[in-house]
Amino acid sequence: MSTQLKKGVLELCVLNILERQDSYGYDIYQEINSNMFISESTIYPILRKLVKEGLCTTYLKESTEGPPRKYFKTTELGDTKLKSLKDNWLSFYKTVNSMIGVTNNG
């Protein structure tokens, strides 16, 4: 998948992961990276942006196998944003599919 396309949906993917479970930077990166290749350094600015926009908050959590890690957790605002992003994505997905002649039901 091209970098430009990936970028647009990364925020959605990150929020989606965090809605399911609180997580820390490297873990989020690894989870996304296992599905589609991204570079680690693109994740961190996104995380920061999410915090800055109030979609996420952070807290330190002790870890058994290392130093305390900075965990990310979605806020209510973040959950709302995730929903709207998902909606956006779906309608975008449908629109593009119909434009390029792929039926939505596969």
Binding site: Y26, S41, L47, R69
Partner: protein, 483 residues
């Protein structure tokens, strides 16, 4: 690269971001390092996993909508800085860079003189030479460390000066060359061999200990046996309180005999063709004199009897400054009767010279700052010049003798000629000139500050020429001559 420089470079590359944003991003990477440490990974492992600081910065800046072009600070070339750096160049760089380059390199080159250390085996007894060699080797190992440090220092100085120039002239503090230049290091290059620091410490430490040990050992070894020009081997060396020291020169030819003396009288003589007796007289300040006598069998089976060995002996003397007054107080050379020495040439000697029983073609003594005596000899032509002490010539059979520039007394007695064209010339003498029983065809004495006397017992002997000129003192002679 380690964690610190990684973070530093990242921070540098993220400079377009504001401090908060930058800190945030960096904290992610610091977390990565910290976590990895717990997983037992080294900083190097993590750095390998991560993108380069530059790539990370590009990605991050893209996410923030800052393009790399914008990220790169505009290059400002500051005229004032350029003027400053030019002044610096004229005043400091010219010599600083020269010193930083030339000194370490010339020292590095001089290190190769180490291979000259093998020479000690030629000039010293084996045990002594071995100790010297080990000591010298240890010294050069230490020297190598010093050289490496100096080269490193020089390289750093030069590279920093260069990188500063790049920064000022391009106006770009982060020019690629800057990082490269500032990272240039001989030691970093050596570190790539991955030899633990401990090993270097052990090598350096043992070199220092070895050097100290060999110096201590050598200080117990007799001085005469140490150093270039020392005796080669010796069976036993006892203290000089005894007179039974025996030195055996373990050599195949005479020109390998080296004698290194300090304040002693040396006498070399050859009584027979195949034997050389070497005698050392130590003259101590308290007047105590010792005599060491050594015998060396000389085999000259293939070589026809000639003066080669003698000349080489003299050349050894010269090489080792034996003629230098610091080493020898007096030198007597007695040539064996059955020895065909054709030429004896002694130059620049500060001690008395006495030549006896010399039979050859030519005798040349010059630059002697002490007295000279030539007795009971027989040679074709003799030249003695530039002498500060008295000259005594006695019992000679010669063709020609020229003496000039003497700042003391010249005495010539009992000289007979070996040809019809024999002559004695004495020129430029500050002291008196006394001739007696000099039976040669031509006598010429000129430019003398002292008195001149010339008497022969046999008044029937008539000289072809007697010429005396330019004399400050009195002249008296009763020698008949044709002219």
């Amino acid at each position: 690269m380690d964690k610190r420089s990684f973070i530093k470079q990242l921070e540098e590359a993220l400079r377009p971001l504001n401090a908060d944003e930058r800190r945030e991003i960096i904290s992610f990477y610091e977390d990565r390092f910290n976590t990895a440490k717990f997983e037992g990974k080294s900083e190097q492992d993590i750095i390998k996993e991560l993108e380069s600081p530059r790539e990370i910065a590009n990605n991050v800046l893209n996410e923030y909508g800052v393009t790399v072009e914008k990220a790169t600070p505009s290059y400002t070339v500051n005229i004032l800085s350029i003027v400053g750096i030019l002044c610096f160049d004229v005043l400091v760089s010219t010599w600083l860079v020269t010193v930083a380059v030339v000194v370490p390199l010339s020292l590095a080159a001089s290190w190769f003189s180490y291979f000259g250390a093998f020479l000690v085996f030629k000039y010293s007894p084996f045990f002594v030479a071995l100790t010297q060699f080990i000591g010298i080797t240890a010294g050069y190992v230490i020297y190598l460390f010093v050289i490496v440090l100096l080269i490193e220092l020089g390289l750093r100085i030069v590279c920093y000066v260069l990188s500063w120039h790049v920064q000022v002239f391009t106006g770009n503090k982060d020019h690629v060359l800057v990082g490269k230049l500032q990272n240039a290091s001989l030691i970093k290059l050596i570190q790539r061999w991955n030899i633990p620091l401990k090993t270097y410490g052990i090598v350096l430490g043992s070199a220092i200990l070895t050097l100290i040990a060999s110096v201590i050992i050598l200080s117990f070894v007799n001085d005469d046996a140490v150093g270039i020009g020392g005796v080669l081997t010796y069976d036993s060396v006892e203290t000089y309180e005894t007179t039974t020291d025996t030195y055996t020169y373990d050599t195949d030819s005479v020109d390998e005999i080296h004698v290194n003396f300090d304040l002693m009288t040396v006498s070399y003589s050859a009584d027979s063709i195949d034997e050389i007796i070497v005698e050392h007289y130590h003259n101590y300040d308290n007047g105590f004199i010792e005599n060491h006598s050594d015998t060396k069998l000389l085999t000259l089976t293939d070589t026809p009897l000639n003066s080669n060995w003698f000349e080489s002996l003299l050349s050894v003397f010269e090489r080792n400054n034996i003629f230098d007054g610091h080493h020898v107080q007096e030198l007597h050379i007695t040539v064996p009767n059955n020895f065909e020495l054709t030429s004896l040439d002694i130059d620049v000697v500060s001690n008395p010279i006495s030549v006896a029983n010399f039979e050859g073609e030519q005798l040349q003594l010059s630059g002697v700052s002490s007295s000279i005596s030539v007795i009971e000899s027989n040679f074709g032509s003799g030249g003695i010049n530039n002498v500060s002490g008295n000259i005594l010539i006695s019992d000679l059979e010669i063709e020609e003798l020229r003496i000039d520039t003497v700042s003391s007394v010249v005495t010539i007695e009992n000289v007979i000629s070996s040809s019809d064209d024999s002559k004695v010339h004495v020129d430029v003498v500050s002291g008196d000139v006394d001739l007696s029983e000099v039976y040669v065809r031509d006598v010429n004495i000129s430019t003398v500050s002292g008195d001149i006397t010339y008497y022969n017992d046999d008044t029937t002997y008539v000289l072809d020429h007697l010429h005396i000129s330019t004399v400050s003192g009195s002249t008296s002679h009763s020698v008949p001559n044709k002219k």
